[in-house]
Every structure is written in structure tokens, then in C-alpha cells.
């Protein structure tokens, strides 16, 4: 029998793993690895397709608690969970986005930013505004010349394998 939606063995297994994370460094590494492996359209694996959202949420919850335990107020507002200056990290990504005119590169920058820094890794006060600036540029680039390419060309550029149609 396939797994149930809410209570299932996959979630039980991850609850155990997450419970064993006892330092911020371990929590951050686990969350980062998980996000790259199982989330976003660029993920490496769809094995956890039905449960990734729930597991990511639980990992984020644990990292937030570990951050609260190990960071002082100053660090909490200004540093990423990796210990780097949050605004400097954000400025680097914003500069990279400002320099590009390619929509696919902009897409990788934006999704990459979320993969690496989505809270609780980066403080919300820095993350939200950076995400807005990156999203605005990405939307601008995507909408320019929206209908220029015929579908067949667009499929090629996106790199899809056409099974039918």
C-alpha cells in the first residue's frame, strides 16, 4: 500500500533525523543539503515529491530554534545562519542580478538565492526585500519579448524532452 498523506513512514524517518540535529552548524548543513536535493524545479531527486514540503518545514523549524539558542540579538538580525554578514551576501546577489540581461541566468540567480538563503538561514528583514528586488528584475526580463519565440524554439531553450504534442 502506498503511503498515507499525513502520517507515514517517510515523515517518521525524517522526524527522527531532524530530532538528532543538535547544533546550528549541523542543522544548516542538513537544510541546505535537503533543499538542493529535493526542492525547486532544479532538484536532484523527486523521490520525496509528496513529503518534501512538510520535511523542509520541520527542518526550518529546527534550524530556527537552534539559531535562537546560539545567536545573540545582534547576530539574529544581521547574520545568516552560516555566520556571514546578511546584507553583504544580499548585496552580492543583487549586484549579480543587476548585471544580467539573460532571463535564464536571472532565474538561476533568483532560485539559487532562495535555495541558499530562504529563512531561517537569512534574517527575514534582509531576505524579503532582497527577494522583492530579485523578483522584480526576473519578472521584467521574463516579460520582454514574451511571444518572440515560437513554442518549438521555446521548448528547446528550456531544454524539455517532448514526449508528445
Amino acid at each position: 500500500m502506498a503511503n498515507k498523506i499525513h502520517d507515514n513512514s517517510i515523515r517518521d524517518e525524517w522526524t527522527q533525523k531532524i530530532g538528532a540535529l543538535n547544533t546550528l552548524a549541523k542543522g544548516v548543513e542538513a537544510l541546505d543539503t535537503f533543499r538542493h536535493q529535493y526542492t525547486t524545479p532544479f532538484r536532484n531527486s523527486y523521490d520525496l515529491e509528496l513529503d518534501w514540503g512538510w520535511i523542509e518545514l520541520k527542518l526550518e523549524e529546527k534550524v530556527a530554534l537552534l539559531k535562537h539558542k546560539e545567536f545573540n540579538d545582534q547576530q539574529f538580525l544581521n547574520q545568516t545562519a552560516y555566520g556571514a554578514d546578511a546584507q553583504k551576501e544580499a548585496d552580492t546577489v543583487i549586484a549579480k542580478m543587476a548585471a544580467t540581461t539573460d532571463k535564464y541566468e536571472a532565474e538561476r540567480i533568483h532560485i539559487g538565492f532562495r535555495l541558499k538563503f530562504k529563512p531561517p538561514i537569512m534574517p527575514v528583514n534582509v531576505f524579503q526585500d532582497t527577494d522583492r528586488i530579485l523578483g522584480t528584475k526576473l519578472m521584467e526580463l521574463r516579460n520582454i519579448g514574451y511571444y518572440d519565440l515560437p513554442l518549438a524554439e521555446l521548448r528547446k531553450v528550456r531544454g524539455v524532452r517532448v514526449i508528445t504534442g
Binding site: 509528496l50 532565474e107 511571444y147 521548448r155 508528445t164
Partner: protein, 527 residues
């Protein structure tokens, strides 16, 4: 001085020099305008490609006090009618049983739309910089809160005073079972509150409200009244009185960006995507709700659609915005084709998937079939014959052990889900314009039913990340999924959904489904 002379003197003095008992509404509104702050940068929390002008006007010029006075009068009329007259005449039990089921869908779904519209207009309030424009959006926030309550109240009223309350009450608990919820959330939720703030306004106000509230909120009252329902017109027409203000807000959103050069680069693309997003769901679902969810017919959906979507909105309303560079969506012609057959295609699938709903569906009677054939020539040969076969196999009777979904499997008619709209379609049975397109990208297969949606996905695939019912329940048995996801009535075994509205007919239970052993299978896996 006599008392009467003193009174007269005082009255004369007041007439010449009126005491300031109140502040004129327009005076307050002028005062609001003085809050125009000249931002160096309009720093909003939400991303947008557009810049809203700082001096944008707003047509209704409402202030909170006037708003509250107006709405309280409307509420008194509406709730007074419902709680007094309509209860005394037993209005809930005078509704045709088929229409009673339709209102489970319409009012529950519209409640979700109104709820998301609260957030959408709050977002626009944050994004605009002109105080008048902000004031217009703020009035809409209040409206949307009112409408959310009203839609909830319609279902509450039907539950308390009407027939078969299962599904009117607590429909949300079934939200992960059937595909109709996901498509609805694509238009009402994602469309209204995700992405560019102005694009959200275009989805909500320029398309959702200016285009589809006429068929959704006005036409539904005609169909309701024709089918004995006086509850829905009482509430929905009260809702519609506010919608004009929302259409005006959408108009002003476009006016506010008209002088920004971004408008010429992005606006028509955003409008086309918003229109296709909204119509892809509303065109088939509203047509299905009206024509298959009623016994007494008003007019063919294709005529309603042509009048309000194609001519009134696509021609006149968008035409008025032409001076700001707005063009009728380039997908309008394709949408027009959908308005003829798409709702018939959808009902075929909806009926086949009836156990996954939270309402009762009914196959067209012989009399209704005649109406369909007269208004959609060719209907019987394509759809009517199938319904006759299903009925002959006992699809309404739990003892028959027959689900129409089995018929699809037996005849190798695969049902796919469009990744972008979430609307199910069956390419081998579609009489409408749907065509199957399947792509594999980064190890995942995606199906699409039209060119416009495919382009939307190719442009921003991360927006459409989701699992459809086949992906979610692959390999699981149907009754087990329904039991886990709360699709049963209070006895814990009878399904909320049923394939008939016959009050003497037997109701299907989990055990009846289990005997059939219907297992979810993802058609994309076989490709």
C-alpha cells in the same frame, strides 16, 4: 421674551450659523488627498515591474463612515430577508435538489476567491503610492471581508434551512481529494496573490471582477431563481453592488501605470496571461455548473459567455482602456472556442470522478438531454450516448458495482491534468480545443492541454510546482483515500458525494467503493 420667540431666535441663529455637527464626506476625502507623500522610491513589500503614479485618482471617493452607513443598510436588507421572509416561506426547501448541490460548489469556491481578494487588495494598498488610490483599495479590502462572510453565510443558511447539508457545511475538509479545488485555487488564490502586484490586480480586478463576476455573480442569480432558489439572489446581488467599485479600481490601476513606459512593455502580456488563467477554469466550470447543475435552463452558456466575456468585456470594457495601450487578449479567440464544448467535456470527467467531490451530481434527464441537443447540435452523439450507457450499467446504484471512471479505463480514455490550470482533460474524448502535450524536464513529466498554458509553464516553471491527484494518490485505492481525507458524512461511512439527487435513491458508502477496487493510476507513467 416669550418662550416661542426665544425658540424662534435660536432657530434663526442656527440657520444662519450652523453648528458643526458633522464633517462633510467630500471634505474628509479632500483631507485624505493631502497625504500625498512624494516618495523618492516607492518602497513596497511586493515585487512589481510597474510604477504606479503618485497622483492617481479614485472614482468612488468613499470614506469609512459613508462606507459603513451604506453597507449596513445593504446588510439589513439582506439578512432581514433571509432571516424573516425567506425562512418563513421555507425557501431552503423550495430549491431544486440539483441546484442545491450546485450552490455547494459556487458559494464555497467564491468564498475562497473573496478571502484571497482581501489579501490581494491589501497588497495593492501597499503597492500604490497615491492616497486616493490607496483609499479605493482599502474600501475594497472591506468589501472582500464582507463578501467572504456573505458566501460563508449562504452555505450556513443552506445547511441550516435546506436539503442535504453535507457539503454545504465544512466543504474545505475535502479540499485535497478532487481536482476541482486545485483548479479553483489556481485562479482564486495563486492568480490573485502571487507574483507581480499589478499582474495580481489584472487577474483580480481587470479580469476576475470586470469580466467574470458578471457571469459568476449576476448570471448565477438568474439560474438560481429559475431553479427555485431565492437565497442566492438575495446575497449575490448584494455582493455585486460592490463589484462595480472593484472594476473601477482595476481601471484606475491601469490608469496609474499608463504613463510608465513599463506598461507598454509588459501590460498586454500580463493581461493575456491573466485572462487565459481565469478563463481556462471559469469557462468550463461555470458552464458546467449552470447547465448540468440545474433542472430549469435559462440560456445556453455559450450565449452568456459571448455577451459578457466576448462582447461586453473583450470589446467594450477593454476598448475603453485602448487609449492606455491595452489590447484585447490575443487568446480571446481561442477562449471563445472553449466556450462551446469545454464545459461538456468537463462534466463527462467530473461525473466520472464523482466520488472525489463534496456534492451530488446528476446525469441529464431525457428532457434535459433534448435541451442540450437543441442548443448544442451533436451533443447526443458525443456525450448523450455515453450517459445512456452509464445509466444502463447502473452508475447511480451502489449495488451495481459500476463507476464511470472504470468505463474510461476500459475504453483506454486517459484523463490527464493540465499542469498550469489544474483542469482535467481527456484528449481522446475532448470535443473542445484541448490537445495533449507532454514534456519531461529534469526527470519530471508534465502534461498540458493548450498552447497558452504551455508557454506560461515554459516561461516560469517554478510557479506551477504541484502534485495532481494522479501523482498524489498513485497506487492507492479510492475508498481509502476518501476515508483518509474526510470525504464521508457524520456516520463515518456514507460518502458526501453521490452520483444522483434522488431522495429515494440509495447512498453510496465506503464499502460500496471498496468492493470495486478502483486504484489511482498516473497516466504519465505509461508514456
Amino acid at each position: 421674551m416669550s418662550i416661542s420667540a426665544a425658540t424662534k431666535a435660536a432657530t434663526d441663529a442656527l440657520a444662519a450659523n450652523r453648528a458643526p455637527v458633522s464633517v462633510n464626506a467630500q471634505e474628509v476625502h479632500r483631507w485624505l488627498q493631502s497625504f500625498t507623500w512624494d516618495f523618492e522610491k516607492n518602497r513596497t513589500k511586493y515585487p512589481t515591474k510597474y510604477k504606479m503614479a503618485n497622483e492617481t485618482k479614485e472614482q468612488f471617493k468613499l470614506i469609512a463612515k459613508e462606507y459603513a452607513r451604506m453597507e449596513s443598510v445593504k446588510d439589513e436588507r439582506q439578512f432581514g430577508s433571509l432571516q424573516d421572509v425567506l425562512t418563513r416561506v421555507d425557501a431552503g426547501n423550495r430549491v431544486h435538489p440539483k441546484w442545491n448541490e450546485t450552490m455547494k460548489v459556487v458559494s464555497n469556491f467564491l468564498e475562497v476567491g473573496e478571502y484571497n481578494a482581501i489579501a490581494a487588495t491589501g497588497m495593492l494598498w501597499d503597492s500604490a503610492s497615491a492616497p486616493e488610490q490607496k483609499n479605493g483599495y482599502l474600501a475594497q479590502v472591506l468589501d472582500e471581508i464582507r463578501h467572504t462572510n456573505q458566501c460563508g453565510y449562504v452555505n450556513y443558511y443552506f445547511t441550516k434551512h435546506g436539503q442535504d447539508p453535507a457539503g454545504h457545511n465544512d466543504a474545505r475538509r475535502t479540499r485535497t481529494i478532487g481536482p476541482l479545488w486545485k483548479g479553483m485555487k489556481r485562479v482564486f488564490s495563486d492568480g490573485f496573490i502571487s507574483g507581480d502586484a499589478v499582474e495580481c490586480s489584472i487577474n483580480l480586478q481587470l479580469v476576475g471582477e470586470a469580466c467574470f463576476t458578471n457571469p459568476l455573480i449576476v448570471a448565477v442569480t438568474e439560474w438560481a431563481a429559475a431553479n427555485g432558489d431565492e437565497i442566492t439572489p438575495t446575497v449575490f446581488l448584494s455582493i455585486e453592488t460592490d463589484e462595480l467599485r472593484h472594476m473601477a479600481n482595476g481601471y484606475q490601476t491601469v490608469v496609474s501605470i499608463a504613463n510608465d513606459e513599463a506598461a507598454s512593455k509588459y501590460l498586454n502580456t500580463d493581461l493575456n496571461n491573466a485572462f487565459w488563467t481565469q478563463q481556462k477554469y471559469f469557462t468550463p466550470v461555470l458552464g458546467m455548473a449552470f447547465e448540468y447543475g440545474s433542472h430549469f435552463k435559462v440560456e445556453p452558456w455559450v450565449k452568456t459567455w459571448n455577451r459578457w466575456v466576448y462582447e461586453d468585456w473583450g470589446g467594450i470594457w477593454i476598448g475603453r482602456l485602448g487609449k492606455y495601450g491595452v489590447e484585447s487578449p490575443r487568446s480571446l479567440r481561442d477562449a471563445k472556442k472553449d466556450a462551446y464544448w469545454a464545459h461538456h467535456d468537463l462534466f463527462l470527467i467530473a461525473y466520472a470522478l464523482w466520488p472525489t467531490g463534496f456534492f451530488r451530481l446528476t446525469l441529464p434527464t431525457a428532457q434535459e438531454a433534448e435541451w442540450f441537443e437543441a442548443n448544442y447540435p451533436g451533443w447526443y452523439d458525443h456525450y448523450g450516448k455515453i450517459y445512456d450507457e452509464w445509466r444502463a450499467r447502473g452508475c447511480e446504484d451502489p449495488a451495481s458495482g459500476f463507476l464511470p471512471l472504470q468505463w474510461f479505463m476500459e475504453n483506454n480514455h486517459q484523463i490527464y491534468i493540465d499542469r498550469v490550470s489544474q483542469v482535467p482533460f481527456c484528449p481522446t474524448l475532448s470535443k473542445g480545443a484541448s490537445t495533449l502535450r507532454v514534456h519531461e524536464w529534469n526527470g519530471k513529466k508534465h502534461s498540458f492541454s493548450d498552447e497558452w498554458g504551455e508557454r506560461q509553464w515554459l516561461t516560469e516553471p517554478e510557479r506551477y510546482e504541484c502534485q495532481n491527484i494522479w501523482e498524489q494518490y498513485e497506487g492507492r485505492e479510492l475508498s481509502e483515500v476518501i476515508a483518509e481525507l474526510h470525504g464521508v458524512r457524520s456516520d463515518g461511512k456514507t460518502l458526501i458525494a453521490q452520483p444522483h439527487t434522488n431522495k429515494d435513491g440509495k447512498l453510496w458508502t465506503l464499502d460500496d467503493l471498496k468492493r470495486i477496487d478502483c486504484v489511482f493510476k498516473d497516466p504519465l507513467k505509461a508514456l
